[in-house]
Symmetry: C2
Subunit: 249 residues, 2 copies
């Protein structure tokens, strides 16, 4: 188990081999056992294997080939629809059309997703999370027929790896861990924390290819630009509102 | 590993035994290996052991005794502060003061939290997630000195269990898993899905104790009421704004 945690690599190239149904079922069951808020289980998992539906999802996930290659695409959703329907059938007035409920359901969905990811890895499968889920949440709602009370949170592609990538580097522990309370960073701290990453071959190659001054600019100018972030923020907030999670008064 | 996933129980009573430093460090390292967006690692983990600070957190976590009992309290935060500081030092203009960035960092924080939770369980420790983190995020920011760009997402208490609870029930798989696309629920589906839960001893006892008509009303009238949800939605949205994650224009 610990070795699974320590050996995680995101897999972006997949073989076409299908996943055995019993294996897939066990992986999904591992997700369902995860911690969740008040045992309400306010999330759902959409299991997409149909090539036509996967192709529609592939378009929304920025045409990353792994979405078509991997035999299974799992979309994890914040989901109060089922719970609301239950309440309404029981003369119990649901009050879950607000941001807190959405956020709670988001946390539940991600905890379940990580259980599924790890169970898949234990079974020798590869996985990759797709952050694009948030960027095109509006279109994904349409493709997957998500009703009010349901918002896609994250996606996992799952399948047998057709690549064997190296372990990616991580920042030193002092970048992530704070003792007792938060200890903010001096310029010297930041230089020290990012030194290894900035001097890596990966960073140097990207800087050369893209003609930026340094590695930080790869993020701000190429990968995660302000204008894209603002655009996608509004897409996501509109979906949250449209799916009836923004009644905060 | 799979047995760890399938045997998870939330632990709410802890022995006072401390956690060995090397064990705690390995658990945190397991968190740091988790999948994250663009390898930006935009989250942080605050490790609180000091009884005085824990007591302040305990107050905000609705005075749940496990916060004082457990030797370690881990607050997982969405954190763009470190990344922003790095960008600014490198003449790279960060555009991460928006909702998408906050939501991305939330997902990263929760994935790391679940790795930490599972690594702790492999080491024979118990854990419990605290959803109260979102309800009192404003006060938790003060206690933990969280700067702009940092918002608490979830909390784990970690320690040696002083109870041995049964596995909690889960809804049948048909409640959570949808094939290909979302298949909405008929009234009959809902009745079937919730039948076992509603007929459980737990549900019957709670209904009797609280004098509600049924189990659904335990949630809507006692545990997660509309008025609380709306109040806490606004607390959380205000924190997101105050910590500079709502510049979406």
């Amino acid at each position: 188990m610990l070795s699974t945690l320590f050996n995680h690599r995101s897999i972006r190239k997949y073989k076409s081999n299908p996943i055995d149904e019993s294996v897939l079922d066990e992986i999904l069951q591992a997700g369902i056992r995860a911690s969740n808020t008040g045992n309400m289980q306010v999330y759902s998992i959409i299991v997409t294997k149909n090539p036509e539906i996967k192709e529609k999802l592939w378009e929304q996930h920025f045409k990353q080939d792994m979405v078509k290659q991997a035999p299974v695409v799992l979309t994890f959703c914040a989901d109060f629809n089922r719970f609301n329907k239950w309440c309404e059938l029981r003369n119990a007035k649901p009050g879950y059309d607000n941001f807190l409920s959405f956020y709670t359901a988001t946390v539940d969905a991600v905890i379940a997703a990580q259980n599924v990811a790890l169970a898949a890895e234990v079974h020798g499968l590869g996985i990759c999370y797709l952050g694009t889920t948030n960027y095109t949440a509006d279109k994904i709602c349409e493709i997957l027929n998500l009703p009010e009370g349901v918002v896609p949170v994250t996606t996992l592609v799952v399948g047998y790896a057709d690549e064997n990538p190296d372990l990616t580097s991580r920042l030193p522990e002092s970048a992530i861990i704070h003792n007792e309370t938060y200890h903010d960073f001096s310029n010297e701290d930041i230089n020290e924390i990012y030194k290894e990453l900035e001097n890596s071959e990966l960073a140097n190659n990207l800087v050369t290819e893209n003609g930026t001054e340094n590695f930080a600019q790869i993020f701000t100018q190429k990968r995660y630009t302000r204008s894209n972030n603002i655009h996608f923020s509004n897409v996501l907030l509109n979906v949250i509102k449209k799916q009836k999670f923004m009644n905060n008064e």
